[in-house]
C-alpha cells in the first residue's frame, strides 16, 4: 500500500497551499474593499443624497424666489452674463474643438483606475464642445 504512505505529504502540501493563499495580504485588502463598498453602514438620513439633493434644490429655488420678489438685492445675473461674453474667456475656449485641450471633467469623474498589464492614462478631451473622458491602457505597442 505504498501509495497511501505518500498521500499524507501530498494532502499536507495541499492544505498548506490553500492556507498560504488565503493569508496573502491581497486577499485581506480585497475583503476590506468589498465590505466597505457593499456592506457598510449607510450615512445618517439627512446626509444621504436622497435627502440632500431635493432639499438643496428646494433651498436654491426658495433663494431665487426671494430674489425674484425682492429685486433690490445686489446680484444682477443679466449684467454678469453680458460681461462674460465681452471678455470671451471661458465659453469660446471650450468650444474651440481642439482635442488636445484638457477641460475640466464634468461628465465623468474617475475615482480609481488601475491595470495589471499596462499603464492607465486618463484623457479629458473636448469633442465639438462636448467633454469626453477616455481611459486608455498602454500595454506596449498600442497607441490610440
Amino acid at each position: 500500500m505504498r501509495e497511501y504512505k505518500f498521500e499524507k505529504p501530498v494532502l499536507k502540501a495541499y492544505r498548506s497551499w490553500i492556507e498560504s493563499e488565503i493569508r496573502r495580504p491581497e486577499v485581506r485588502r480585497e475583503k476590506d474593499a468589498f465590505v466597505k463598498t457593499y456592506f457598510s453602514k449607510p450615512p445618517l438620513f439627512f446626509l444621504r443624497p436622497a435627502f440632500l439633493a431635493p432639499a438643496s434644490s428646494f433651498a436654491v429655488m426658495m433663494f431665487i424666489a426671494v430674489l425674484w420678489y425682492w429685486p433690490t438685492t445686489s446680484l444682477k445675473p443679466g449684467r454678469e452674463i453680458q460681461m462674460m461674453h465681452r471678455e470671451g474667456a471661458v465659453v469660446e475656449n471650450v468650444a474651440s474643438g481642439d482635442s488636445d485641450v484638457v477641460v475640466s471633467p464634468g461628465m465623468v469623474d474617475v475615482k480609481r483606475v488601475a491595470s495589471r498589464v499596462g499603464t492607465p492614462m486618463v484623457y479629458y478631451k473636448s469633442n465639438h464642445g462636448q467633454p469626453i473622458t477616455i481611459i486608455w491602457i498602454f500595454t506596449g505597442g498600442n497607441t490610440p
Binding site: P49, V108, K111, R116, P120, I134
Partner: protein, 149 residues
C-alpha cells in the same frame, strides 16, 4: 403668473423630496458599445455613424469594427458580465446611484489578467471611452459606456 410658476416648481420639488424611489433607484441601464480598432484597412464598419466623427477626432486608427450594442440593466450589488472579442470580458458593477450620477466599477480582463479596473462617477446621462487592450497584431479594443437610457 410668477406666483403660479413658483408654487408649481415648489410642488414638483416637494414631490421629489417625498418620493424616495426616484432618488433611491438602484437600477441603472447602461449601453455598452464594443469597437475593435486597428490600422489594417480603412473601413468603418459601424452599425451606425454615431461614433464616426468622435472616433476620427479622438483616435488615430484607420479601421473600426463595431459590434451590436448591448443594453445592460445594472442593479446594485450584482455583477454583469459582457463577453468581448478576443476572449476579453467586461464586468460592470453598480456601486451607487446619486442624484444625477451613477458610480460604476468597470473591469476588463482576459484569462485571469486584469487589463482595466476602474471606478467611475458618470453623469446620468453621460459617456466614457475605455480602450487599449490589444486585439490581433496591432489593434485595440475600445468600449463606449453610455448612461441615461
Amino acid at each position: 403668473m410668477r406666483k403660479l410658476s413658483f408654487f408649481v416648481l415648489s410642488a414638483v420639488l416637494i414631490s421629489l423630496w417625498i418620493n424616495p424611489s426616484l432618488q433611491a433607484a438602484e437600477r441603472v441601464r447602461v449601453k455598452v458599445q464594443v469597437l475593435t480598432a486597428s490600422n489594417e484597412g480603412t473601413d468603418f464598419n459601424l452599425v451606425n455613424d454615431a461614433y464616426r466623427d468622435q472616433l476620427i477626432e479622438l483616435f488615430s486608427y484607420s479601421h473600426y469594427e463595431q459590434e451590436e450594442p448591448v443594453l445592460v440593466s445594472l442593479q446594485r450589488a450584482e455583477r454583469s458580465k459582457i463577453d468581448l472579442p478576443d476572449g476579453y470580458e467586461l464586468i460592470l458593477t453598480l456601486q451607487a446611484v446619486e442624484s444625477n450620477r451613477v458610480l460604476v466599477q468597470a473591469l476588463i480582463r482576459r484569462e485571469g489578467r486584469q487589463y482595466v479596473d476602474t471606478v467611475l462617477s458618470i453623469l446620468n446621462p453621460g459617456v466614457v471611452f475605455l480602450g487599449g487592450p490589444p486585439v490581433g497584431a496591432n489593434g485595440a479594443l475600445i468600449i463606449v459606456l453610455e448612461t441615461g437610457f
